[in-house]
């Protein structure tokens, strides 16, 4: 996501920060590069012109030229402007009392409305709201069946206390262009149904339509008048090019949107729509869709995205993801164990599993400051983690509780059991011992030191990190053999002789 833009920006800042002082010519040259980078990233042509203009004005003011750290100053200016371009946004959904809060989804064909309706229902269910999903798309073949399937999946498989209802009138479905207007009645009756079943939120899935199709846009306005939705969201494909603003503008003019939901954010989108839509419509992006699964919906945070675009990482999102997977008690219990150096292989395995639930290693590491850049060409092998899990699962309970038991014979058995080699087993053990050692060190730090270590990571200067390794991950992967285990092996060998 946004990799190409991140690449360009880091290269640029590195160039600027390499100098003690910069001239006006340097700034202009840099701005020309920013302009190209943004255009290549599908940012709307008009937005790019204004954006670069503003940055140039700011940069040519005394701030940057007089600064001793021009690179850093530029990063700050661009960061602030990016945040400004996409924000501010209030990601909270407003609920009305008495319910139901009516949410209407609209957008072009294929932008992902129906899937997003399902994801939104899952999001609401998790937050304890009961939802009615209403199929108001009477045009696309099988759209009703698709929403019904999603409603069932959310009700059956997704966590949360909320209930999920489904409303549709399949007999109103007709071929394209023949059912125009019928959606109004369906929407009205869906609202009645939602009131009756006590839903907190009614989500209306409307048919995909072109913003220049007068008949269908008229229908959408009629639905709007009939049920007066509290929130109207435009669903937009994040991969859209220059046309993104045209459709967003047209929908906004006809419907007075409350926000935009960007889908397919897990693609290699360059970010054009994300950077252009707010500026042109004045309506913020509220949510982003980040995958095929029903829980792949996230609230949108402009500051975090700006940081990620500039290669500064996104520690906040990482922490939130972690909190979703690990409960506080579990975390505290583990912390205590770690402090005492009593962490076992079982704990290690549990940790590994919950980390993997958060997403791929690459996506997680990408959120660390300065790491994103290094990852571009790194082919992280998720299979390696599968092997690690297999190795641990091939150990007996005793072995998992005390790795010092692992002599060569046991290691050979584990290697056979897990379909790996003794080297692979040794590597896992080595890695575990390192984690053990590190966790003891961290736990022995005072609270203040730990805070320092953390905030230091967040404030690192992205420009300075271009050439370095992975800051904040000291010696990861180098692996020194623990002398303690070695000596125990020797003792055991001696005994067996």
């Amino acid at each position: 996501m946004f990799d190409s833009l991140t690449d360009k920006f880091s290269g640029l800042f590195r160039k600027l920060s390499g100098r003690g002082k910069i001239t006006e010519a340097n700034v202009r040259e840099a701005m020309a590069e920013v302009r190209t980078a943004l255009l290549e990233a599908d940012v709307n042509y008009g937005v790019v012109e204004q954006f670069t203009q503003r940055i140039q004005e700011k940069a040519l003011g005394t701030e940057v030229l007089a600064s001793l750290q021009p690179g850093e100053q530029m990063v700050k200016i661009v960061h602030d402007e990016l945040v400004d371009l996409m924000g501010p946004v209030d990601t909270h959904l407003m609920y009305v009392q008495p319910g139901p809060t009516v949410v209407m989804m609209c957008g072009l064909q294929g932008s992902g409305k129906t899937t997003t309706c399902g994801k939104l229902a899952a999001y609401l269910k998790k937050n304890g709201k009961s939802v009615t999903l209403a199929a108001v798309d009477l045009q696309r073949p099988a759209a009703v069946a698709q929403l019904e399937t999603l409603a069932k999946q959310v009700e059956g498989d997704m966590p949360g206390p909320g209930q999920v209802h489904f409303y549709a009138e399949p007999d109103k479905v007709a071929e394209y262009g023949k059912a125009v207007g019928a959606a109004v009645g369906v929407a009205r009756r869906a609202l009645d149904a939602a009131k009756k079943n006590g839903s907190d939120v009614l989500v209306l899935d409307t048919a995909g339509r072109l913003h220049i199709d007068d008949a269908l846009m008229g229908e959408l306005r009629a639905v709007n008048q009939a049920v007066t939705p509290h929130q109207i969201y435009l669903v937009t494909d994040a991969m859209t090019g220059q046309d993104a603003v045209n459709s967003a503008k047209a929908f906004n003019e006809q419907l007075e949107l409350d926000g935009v939901i960007l889908t397919k954010f897990d693609s290699d989108t360059r970010g054009g729509a994300a950077l252009s839509v707010k500026h042109v419509t004045g309506k913020p992006i509220k949510f982003i869709g980040t995958g095929e699964k029903l829980d792949a919906i996230e609230e949108f945070h402009p500051e975090r995205l700006a940081s990620r675009i500039l290669g500064m990482g996104d520690v906040l999102s990482l922490v939130e993801k972690a909190q979703e997977q690990v409960s506080e008690e579990d975390a505290l219990a583990l912390q205590e164990k770690m402090a005492k150096g009593k962490m076992t292989m079982d704990d290690f395995l549990a940790q590994l599993k919950s980390v993997r639930k958060m997403g791929s290693m690459k996506s997680l590491l990408g959120m660390l400051p300065g790491v994103g850049q290094q990852l571009k060409n790194l082919d992280l092998d998720e299979k390696e983690l599968n092997r690690t899990e297999a190795v641990i699962q091939s150990m007996t309970k005793k072995e998992r509780a005390d790795v010092t038991l692992l002599d060569n014979s046991r290691r050979r058995r584990i290697a056979r059991g897990s379909g790996t080699s003794t080297q692979a087993v040794s590597q896992v053990v080595k890695g575990f011992e390192m984690v053990l050692k590190m966790s003891k060190q961290v736990s022995s730090m005072g609270m203040m030191d730990r805070m320092k270590a953390l905030t230091g990571m967040g404030q690192m200067d992205p420009a300075a990190m271009g050439g370095g390794g992975m800051p904040g991950l000291p010696g990861f992967g180098s692996g020194k053999k623990s002398t303690k285990t070695q000596s125990r092996f020797r003792q055991r060998k001696r005994k067996s002789r």
Binding site: Q146, D237, D243
Partner: protein, 309 residues
């Protein structure tokens, strides 16, 4: 080309909302103006705004500028003609025709792929309709076993068009459905088998490998298959379509593009960059919701529309 007889007739009638309507009534930025440095930079902006991409736009503008300086073009209209010729040469006629299996070589297999929401299923309905109107017998393979109700969607189309569809279970192995569909198409002596696949982002390696598997299954069952591998691109897509095309081409040797949803305000200029960088031709354009809304790709008209006001 008989394939598009109906579409052409429709075109002549002049559709109010479709691209053809837009194009016939458009005024070009280039019209009635003498070529100048200023006009050239306007033209470059226009190309970028049509999603052609910065690099390709710069390249085309440079070529035009060279021709201008060499005295070959001086007026806006000439510049348009120059660009039309230049790009038409990139898109020769034979490149844009469908490739069929040799006579007696079994059904022609057309594999359809694309990212989520590009418009694959509707595009299949369009191709199926125009082939059916040529009296070809058609079998559809519903290999999108992933998305909810995707199979139903294709079934509804098959019902409306009166063509057969082979399907599997939701969540089943799409390659197995492709296998069954190939056997069914051969057994019934069908002329064309059109294989629908689940939308997938090109960033998902495992899903791309699944696509390769589907293609290999077709190749194993029917010699020379698939004869056409069509990537469906949404006309609104931005610069990442180049990577899309590249990755899909690596996985399944894409032979052509179906540029869908060209009836909106998007210009679909990215196909110029894709042709330029990857050599993949555009075979069809989609201009509406009904199965009749398909047209052959015409470079000249396409280029004109890029510069529409």
């Amino acid at each position: 080309m008989a394939l598009f007889k109906t579409a052409f007739n429709k075109l002549k009638q002049g559709l109010a909302k479709t691209r053809s309507g837009l194009v016939s009534g458009l005024r070009s930025v280039l019209g009635g103006r003498a070529l100048s440095a200023e006009l050239l930079s306007e033209l470059e902006a226009k190309l970028i705004q049509a999603d052609v991409g910065v690099a390709t736009a710069a390249k085309l503008t440079q070529e035009l500028s060279d021709a201008w300086k060499a005295g070959k073009v001086s007026q806006g209209e000439q510049a348009l003609d120059y660009l039309k010729q230049r790009l038409a040469a990139d898109w020769p006629d034979h490149d844009r025709r469908l490739r069929y299996a040799p006579d007696g070589g079994g059904p022609t297999v057309i594999l359809i792929a694309g990212v989520n929401g590009a418009g694959k299923t509707t595009s299949i309905a369009k191709i199926a309709k125009s082939l059916r109107d040529e009296n070809k017998s058609i079998v559809l393979a519903a290999c999108d076993t992933f998305r909810a109700a995707a199979v139903e969607q294709l079934e509804i189309w098959s019902g409306r068009l009166g063509v057969e569809v082979v399907k599997g279970q939701q969540g089943g192995d799409p390659a197995a459905v492709a296998f069954d569909a190939c056997e069914a198409a051969v057994a019934r002596g069908a002329d064309v088998l059109i294989v629908d696949t689940a939308g997938r982002l090109h960033t998902q390696d495992s899903l791309m490998r699944q696509l390769t598997k589907i293609k290999n299954v077709c190749a194993k069952k029917i010699p020379g298959a698939p004869h056409e591998v069509i990537l469906v691109l949404d006309a609104t897509v931005g610069q990442n379509a180049i990577t899309q095309a590249k990755v899909f081409a690596e996985a399944i040797d894409v032979t052509g593009i179906f540029l869908a949803k060209l009836d909106g305000t998007a210009r679909g200029g990215i196909v110029v960059a894709i042709r330029d960088q990857l050599g993949i031709p555009v075979k069809f354009i989609g201009v509406g919701e009904t199965p009749d809304d398909v047209e052959p790709f015409e470079p000249g008209r396409f280029i004109e529309a890029l510069f529409a006001e």
